[in-house]
């Protein structure tokens, strides 16, 4: 959210007055406000504009020795609600729990099952986090890649083998397939989160977590195959595929949750463009 001072900033501001680093409390406050506005369905462009205003004002106030709490009050949600109400948005929805998933899952369940909650609101909360869209997009992209891989990988590997590369041929083919598979899934995830915020952060974290999940799941799948004598029985195949895809899905969900808990990256403001 807030742009920490950088060497470029220092050059811009000269030697006499350099902006001090902003405290994490500012980032956290703006993140909570942004989440609340997202929950209240303020359009992303409007949210970005309001947040850039807040960022500049909080920055200036901080340099004057005024803390975010002194400026906004101790209840950022109330401030966010007041702004939204003045803009004509319905602010009767209860605020979300501070952490969505997975550590605060019981709290989230309790919140969603509250008496004031409504099915539409629950649907909106799930959609604002984007878990469903993310999994659907990743699943479709992954399935398309697998189908393509079934047609392409084996013939290409065989062709490279015949070219004289030997065992390196199929290995290179599989490595290329894994790279294409990961890239396509990540692009699909990024596109599926368009308009929900933190898409780029989700993808960067997924790019780390997905290979980690493969490091765990692939040996496990191989172990299952070895224990079963490399059986082609449907139960064994489902267990092997389920292990790989299940852990990959978990890694995507974890990446999304991780990204949602991070402060949003700076919005495109005049300050950020400098």
């Amino acid at each position: 959210m807030l742009t920490p001072p950088t060497p470029e900033h220092d050059d811009q501001y000269g030697d006499q007055l350099k902006p001090a680093p902003l405290p994490m409390a500012v980032h956290a406050a703006l993140h909570r406000i942004e989440q609340r506005w997202d929950q209240l369905r303020l359009p992303q462009a409007l949210r970005a504009r309001l947040l850039s205003d807040l960022e500049a004002d909080l920055h200036a106030a901080y340099l004057d020795g005024v803390t975010p709490h002194a400026l906004l009050g101790t209840d950022e949600i109330a401030f966010a609600d007041e702004v939204a109400a003045q803009l004509g948005y319905d602010t009767r929805q209860p605020p979300p729990p501070p952490v969505v998933w997975p550590p605060a899952l019981p709290q989230a369940i309790q919140w969603r099952a509250g008496p004031l909650d409504a099915p539409a609101r629950r649907a909106h909360d799930a959609s604002s986090a984007g878990y469903g869209r993310l999994l659907l997009a990743a699943g479709l992209a992954g399935a398309a890649c697998v189908l393509l891989g079934l047609v392409v990988v084996f013939p290409v590997g065989r062709w490279l083998y015949d070219l004289g590369l030997g065992g390196a041929g199929p290995l290179l083919t599989y490595a290329a397939f894994v790279g294409v598979f990961t890239t396509v899934v990540l692009v699909a995830v990024h596109r599926s989160l368009h308009g929900l915020g933190q898409a780029r952060e989700t993808v960067t974290r997924a790019a780390v977590l997905m290979p980690c999940s493969a490091v765990i799941s692939l040996p496990l799948a191989v172990y299952v195959g070895w224990v079963s004598g490399y059986s082609w029985r449907p139960a064994v195949l489902i267990a092997e595929i389920g292990l790989v895809l299940g852990l990959a899905a978990l890694s995507l969900l974890a990446a999304r949750s991780w990204a949602l808990r991070e402060p949003p990256r700076p919005v495109a403001t005049a300050a950020g463009a400098r």
Partner: protein
């Protein structure tokens, strides 16, 4: 304790009054000189009508801007990110004029009514009440 309770009540009443005129006061403040949100809150507080926090002023700015009454311009700062400086649009100026007239009318009407209500001595008022009761035929004790 008694004095503190009355003072708190007065402050609450004052806040109640100000709440209805905060947007008018904000337009008037911007009409004197454009400014950014944090500065406008400070200037409004310095008027002496009561405390105006940023948390009160910024939502009003958001509404007035959304209504087309305020324009904004990014002013670069030597100390941090560029800040939005708000000014009145033509619609904002005419709205300020209209709301000011409404306020003047309301203020005059309210003042006249309050003066007439408090000007009558208690004796006269009880006499008038009993006379009204007699003319309307209400039972008297």
């Amino acid at each position: 304790m008694r004095r503190m309770a009355i003072s708190a009540d007065d402050a609450e009443r004052r806040q109640h009054f100000l709440r209805g005129t905060a947007d008018l006061l904000l337009l008037a403040t911007i009409a004197r000189a454009p400014g950014h949100a944090y500065e406008l809150a400070t200037r409004l507080s310095d008027v002496g009508l009561g405390p105006f926090s940023y948390g009160t002023v910024y939502p009003l700015i958001a509404r007035l801007r959304s209504a087309g009454l305020l324009s904004e311009a990014a002013h670069p700062s030597t100390r941090g990110p560029a800040r939005k400086v708000y000014d009145l649009t033509a619609a904002g100026r005419s709205t300020l004029q209209r709301w000011s007239q409404q306020w003047q009318h309301l203020h005059q009407a309210t003042s006249s009514y309050l003066e007439s209500s408090t000007a009558d001595p208690p004796g006269d008022r009880s006499h008038r009440d009993s006379a009204d009761a007699t003319t309307t035929g209400s039972p008297t004790c």
